[in-house]
């Protein structure tokens, strides 16, 4: 590890490597300490509970392995989501960690994510006079269906691959937009 990488990042990078042959639950704090060259206590100080570690790991994975391509319009958003579903398919162990981290009791109070804001902005740009209630409904739907949780459910419950999952996602986007007043899919 380069000297410029800080300890928590080194720990998360090491945990990501460990996911290649172990489940998250089988990754011990001790092994992480050994891999990074710090004590087990240091790992606990950075990640006081396994929930902290799970959230940290998911954040690291999202940033390094699954960055969502930039988008402005709704069609661009759909392409970005499709690309990311394929990225999930290519690294399922990582994707399940993200899905799981998104489902746990949060360890802290987080700001609305960049993705949430971007989707909201995208919808507002497509229909500047959309009311707040419908904006919230549509933002929630688009965000939730673009998520790793959706990918995970489609995979384990419906045996869908990324292409099929993306098709269902596209259909959902169409349905959500159709339920809004005068939305133009090509807006933006």
């Amino acid at each position: 590890m380069a000297d410029t990488v800080d300890t928590p990042t080194a720990i998360l990078a090491s945990a990501a490597v460990a996911l290649r042959d172990r489940t998250f639950d089988d990754i011990s704090y001790r092994s992480l300490g050994d891999a990074v060259g710090v004590s087990e206590r240091t790992v606990y100080r950075q990640f006081p509970t396994r929930s902290h570690l799970l959230e940290g790991l998911a954040g690291w994975i999202e940033a390094t392995e699954f960055p969502l391509p930039a988008f402005v319009t709704i069609p661009q958003f759909q392409v970005a989501a499709r690309d990311r579903f394929h990225a999930f398919d290519a690294a399922p162990a990582f994707a399940f960690v993200c899905a799981r981290a998104a489902s746990i009791s949060p360890t802290g109070e987080a700001e609305p994510s960049f993705l949430t804001r971007t989707i909201e902005g995208m919808l507002q740009a497509a229909n500047p006079r959309l009311n707040a209630r419908d904006l919230q409904r549509a933002t929630a739907a688009l965000l939730y269906f673009a998520s790793a949780q959706f990918w995970a459910r489609m995979r384990t419950s419906f045996d869908m691959d990324a292409s099929e999952t993306s098709d269902v996602f596209d259909r959902t986007v169409e349905r959500a937009l159709a339920a809004l007043p005068a939305m133009s899919p090509a807006g933006g």
């Binding site: 639950d25 609305p112 933002t139 419906f158 959902t172 349905r175």
Partner: protein, 195 residues
């Protein structure tokens, strides 16, 4: 919690009284302590059984967690089955309100469905949704029916409640509203195609 002898639950194996006691105890402790990181010893004590009994029934923590999540869905979050696919938005609204009242348990259910382990079936109501659609909208093409089932199954889950609370910081009313709205949107194309 009374166990129905004729197996009214739709899940896999029938639980014996010891297992019910263990799962109920674990759920209780998760809610009290706000974490699923509870020792088998404590769970055993709360259930009124020996620690070895817990291990015998659930070899690993993951086994125990999966079984507890299934039990929570069946008991705490039990619901009357909808009779029409068009009642799903209403059922989903009510489910979100239920999850909101027991947030720790909702997180347990949500997290276990996202582990990608073969033992966790994220969509137990899938068959029922499919059956209702076949009955009410028989003209529906397979691909469209599969999509509607997938979308409703995704919305109708504890993970929905968690996501909307975590990511958008929505309150109970808004979560119920958004989830019901999404379900209505999914059903819009088929409202006039029954029979």
């Amino acid at each position: 919690m009374p166990t129905e002898p004729d197996g009214a639950h739709t899940s896999a194996a029938e639980l014996n009284r010891t297992q019910e006691a263990i799962l109920a105890a674990y759920a209780e402790l998760i809610e009290e302590l706000g974490t699923d990181d509870v020792s088998f010893r404590l769970i055993a004590r709360r259930a009124g059984v020996g620690e070895r009994t817990v291990f015998r029934n659930y070899q690993t923590r993951v086994d125990l967690l999966l079984a507890t999540a299934a039990w929570i869905e069946r008991t705490v979050f039990a619901r009357e089955e909808s009779r029409s696919i068009f009642d799903m938005p209403l059922a989903i609204r009510e489910a979100m309100e239920r999850y909101d009242r027991r947030p720790e348990l909702a997180h347990v259910v949500a997290e276990t469905t996202m582990r990608g382990v073969s033992g966790s079936a994220p969509s137990p109501r899938r068959e029922h949704l499919d059956a209702m659609l076949r009955m009410e909208v028989p003209s529906l093409a397979d691909i469209e029916r599969r999509a509607i089932v997938a979308e409703l199954a995704h919305i109708d889950s504890a993970a929905t409640w968690v996501a909307l609370r975590r990511e958008l910081h929505m309150n109970r009313r808004d979560i119920a509203d958004a989830a019901a709205w999404a379900a209505e949107a999914v059903l819009d194309p088929i409202r006039g195609r029954v029979g």
